[in-house]
């Protein structure tokens, strides 16, 4: 069997999202670089503020997840953060997050990395950790403050955001996992050396042989092994580097536009990289009902896709107050111009 099914059933006990408030419209980027000509891949993207980074975003999302999970942070046995913009090459993000949420010192902490699927990897690892009995709860986070090269096509979509999930026993879960699957190959479609500020990418090579090959294979294979087709799902969410790719992938797998609507956030927040599909899932869960079946397929350049099939339980109805929904974060926006964005994202070399 090539799909992953834990022998003890596990699921999502709590989830949380975080999106920074600043928004840079794609039209503003076009205004600066190409005199406003041409089509735009999204409407606007979320921009991390001066005092925000992957650590702060992870903490906010984790706190929201803990509120929904209603557990004591000392019960968390692992804190894992997946990102491609960890502030340090050496010095973990996860320990800062673990300490900030009160989970230290009896906790495993590690940083994960695999381009945009760094976050979903933490969920797969957490599934195994919890199902094996090594932990009652494990926290997995996908967060990024990705940087796009000024003037490059990717600058329009590189956004900031984070999503966190507390994984625990099925009996306590608002959604449990039916199975997971990973499809991986050595495909260098997008990469960055540690000494480089901005990544390089293979233009059209990032499409068919990269994103679509892995996303479609992962989604198709998981559904087949579980005996499902797109019609068995209430909702699906895919990695969202732009609007068109997830729409096309959904169509090829047999999903309708309605099925992907709730989780398609890229037009309003941009590509939040390691958070992308995970953030989309939080938006779906915000509106989900017991019995809903959800498919999630992430994609990380380099390349690989992690796929998950989940079923929502009765516990979803216990929606605690005073936890912001993903759409609340999206609605909370302050538009900035390109100059402010350059300052906030430290794109100007001062010395």
């Amino acid at each position: 069997m090539t799909i992953m099914k834990p022998t003890k059933e596990v699921g999502i006990v709590g989830y949380g999202a975080y999106v920074p408030r600043y928004r840079l419209p794609a039209s503003e980027i076009a205004r600066v670089w190409i005199e406003g000509q041409g089509g735009l891949p999204i409407k606007e993207k979320a921009v991390a503020g001066l005092d925000e980074d992957t650590v702060t975003i992870s903490i906010e999302a984790a706190r929201n997840a803990l509120k929904r999970a209603s557990i004591h942070p000392q019960e968390i046995r692992a804190v894992w953060v997946g990102s491609e913009s960890h502030p340090y090459a050496v010095k973990p993000t996860s320990t800062v997050v673990a300490e900030a949420i009160g989970a230290t010192p009896n906790v495993q902490a590690a940083d994960f990395e695999f381009a945009c699927k760094a976050g979903t990897e933490t969920i797969q690892a957490a599934m195994g950790f919890v199902a094996s009995g090594m932990a009652r709860y494990a926290l997995g986070v996908g967060a990024d403050t990705a940087q796009g090269r000024p003037g490059d096509a990717l600058e329009y979509t590189t956004g900031s955001g984070g999503a966190a999930y507390v994984i625990g026993p099925k009996e306590e879960s608002l959604a449990y996992f039916e199975g997971a699957y990973s499809y991986v190959s050595d495909t260098p479609d997008f990469f960055r050396r540690s000494y480089e500020r901005y990544p390089q990418h293979g233009s059209r090579f990032t499409g068919e042989p990269a994103y679509f090959k892995h996303v479609l294979a992962a989604g198709q294979h998981l559904m087949e092994e579980l005996g499902y087709t797109a019609a068995d799902y209430t909702a699906a969410v895919f990695h969202q580097p732009n609007t068109r790719f997830p729409q096309r992938a959904a169509k090829k797998l047999g999903f309708t536009p309605q099925q992907i609507e709730a989780g398609l956030l890229v037009p309003l927040v941009g590509n939040t990289y390691a958070a992308s599909s995970m953030l989309g899932l939080t938006a779906i869960l915000d509106e989900a009902r017991p019995g809903d079946r959800i498919l999630l397929v992430s994609y990380g350049s380099g390349a690989g896709s992690d796929a998950f099939s989940l079923v929502v339980t009765e516990l979803i109805e216990e929606r605690p107050d005073r936890v912001l929904c993903t759409r609340d974060y999206i609605a909370r926006r302050k538009e900035i111009d390109y100059a402010t964005y350059v300052r906030y994202r430290k794109k100007l070399r001062m010395h």
Partner: protein, 385 residues
């Protein structure tokens, strides 16, 4: 000089072949051509290719391809004339057989554009076809140069952008019936008008898409061809002409003198004229190139090339069908391989193997391939079996 015929042909689909290398594409086409000819070996291989060194980091590809195609040891040489490399390879193959030096020759055009990972790299590579000191150095790309010609043409002859749409619509219409075409889908005039600009007034819909592909044909003397197949297609004309690379050095930038000279030489060899051509696989890298080619080859008066398209004369039912299998615009433009695709498509038509796009009773087919903006023009005329 011996009479030369085509006895076999093969082609790959024109596409972004991410999973196939240059040598794989060429081998596929050559194997298909040899199989079609009923042969296992040949005396020589001429490979037409423009950018193997620039985008794939590999020169010396004729020997490489001969080896990988199972033909190690035979005579093999790469021929380059920018986008007309494929046609130039045919010219050399033709001369080898006509001269009596070779009996069986394979001509293969191959291009692996997607080894140029970014469009910036691809455009810089294509600019190798124009004058590097006086055009490229000043920022003029191939699209920009054709844009200059298109804009001047529109001004001189009172032609609007929309008037060029029929070239694109016709090409896509025909590609729908070609399983090897890159874009086998019809296109409307509305879509043409909405297309984003590459170098105004040249839009995405005025420009043939670059992609990967390989096409191959097998040549032999006509008297031997008769013993091998009933389907031999005679080459009745093969002519090359040159012009300045730089458009500013042309006698008249709106007249493709190279196309005129090449066509005249070909007509003379074939003892025929433009009126005798039943179809024309034209070099429609840009819509303006198609218009100017029709004029230079005598199918329309100066400034009337666009009108010929508007009046439907370029359609399959028209007076001079062009791009009968999609042309460069819709079948695709694998640069140096294109010239051989044009020949393969003529052979399909003349043999009666063109499927839904089959022309009835076509006897003489003309193919013309252009390097750069007209620096090299190569014309071949083929006769039905």
């Amino acid at each position: 000089m011996r009479d030369v015929s085509i006895i076999g042909m093969g082609q790959t689909k024109v596409s972004e072949h991410w999973d196939k290398s240059l040598r794989q594409l060429a081998t596929e086409a050559i194997s298909a051509a040899l199989s079609d000819a009923g042969l296992e070996r040949a005396d020589a291989l001429y490979v037409g290719n423009m950018l193997s060194g620039e985008v794939s980091g590999q020169e010396h590809i004729a020997a490489l391809i001969a080896d990988f195609a199972g033909l190690r040891g035979i005579e093999a040489v790469k021929v380059e004339a920018a986008e007309s490399s494929g046609a130039a390879a045919l010219r050399l193959g033709y001369m080898a057989v006509a001269s009596g030096l070779m009996d069986t020759v394979i001509v293969c055009g191959v291009e692996k554009m997607t080894d140029a990972v970014s469009s910036a790299t691809a455009n810089a590579a294509l600019a190798l076809a124009v004058d590097s000191d006086y055009e490229t150095l000043h920022g003029l790309s191939l699209a920009a140069l054709n844009a200059l010609l298109m804009r001047r043409y529109m001004h001189e002859y009172g032609v609007k952008r929309e008037d060029f749409a029929p070239f694109t619509v016709n090409a896509h219409q025909n590609a729908a019936g070609n399983p090897y075409a890159m874009f086998p889908r019809p296109v409307t005039t509305e879509a043409f008008m909405k297309a984003p600009m590459i170098a105004e007034p040249v839009s995405l819909m005025d420009s043939a898409p670059l992609a990967d592909g390989a096409a191959a044909i097998v040549l032999c003397p006509s008297n031997k061809a008769r013993d091998l197949t009933a389907d031999a297609v005679r080459i009745v004309a093969s002519a090359v002409a040159t012009d300045s690379l730089a458009i500013h050095d042309r006698r008249d930038p709106l007249f493709l003198e190279g196309a005129y000279l090449s066509a005249q030489r070909a007509y003379q060899q074939a003892e025929a004229g433009s009126a005798d051509m039943d179809l024309f696989e034209i070099h429609d890298a840009f819509t303006i190139t198609a218009a100017l080619s029709l004029e230079a080859c005598g199918f329309a008066q100066r400034g009337q090339g666009v009108r010929l398209a508007q009046e439907g004369e370029i359609a399959l039912e028209g007076r001079i069908p062009i791009c009968t299998m999609g042309g460069l615009k819709a079948r695709g433009n694998p640069a140096g391989a294109t010239g051989v695709y044009q020949i393969v498509e003529l052979v399909e038509q003349l043999r009666g193997q063109a499927g839904v796009n089959q022309l009835k009773g076509a006897r003489l087919g003309m193919a013309q391939s252009i390097g750069g903006t007209g620096g090299t023009v190569i014309t071949h005329i083929l006769e039905a079996p």
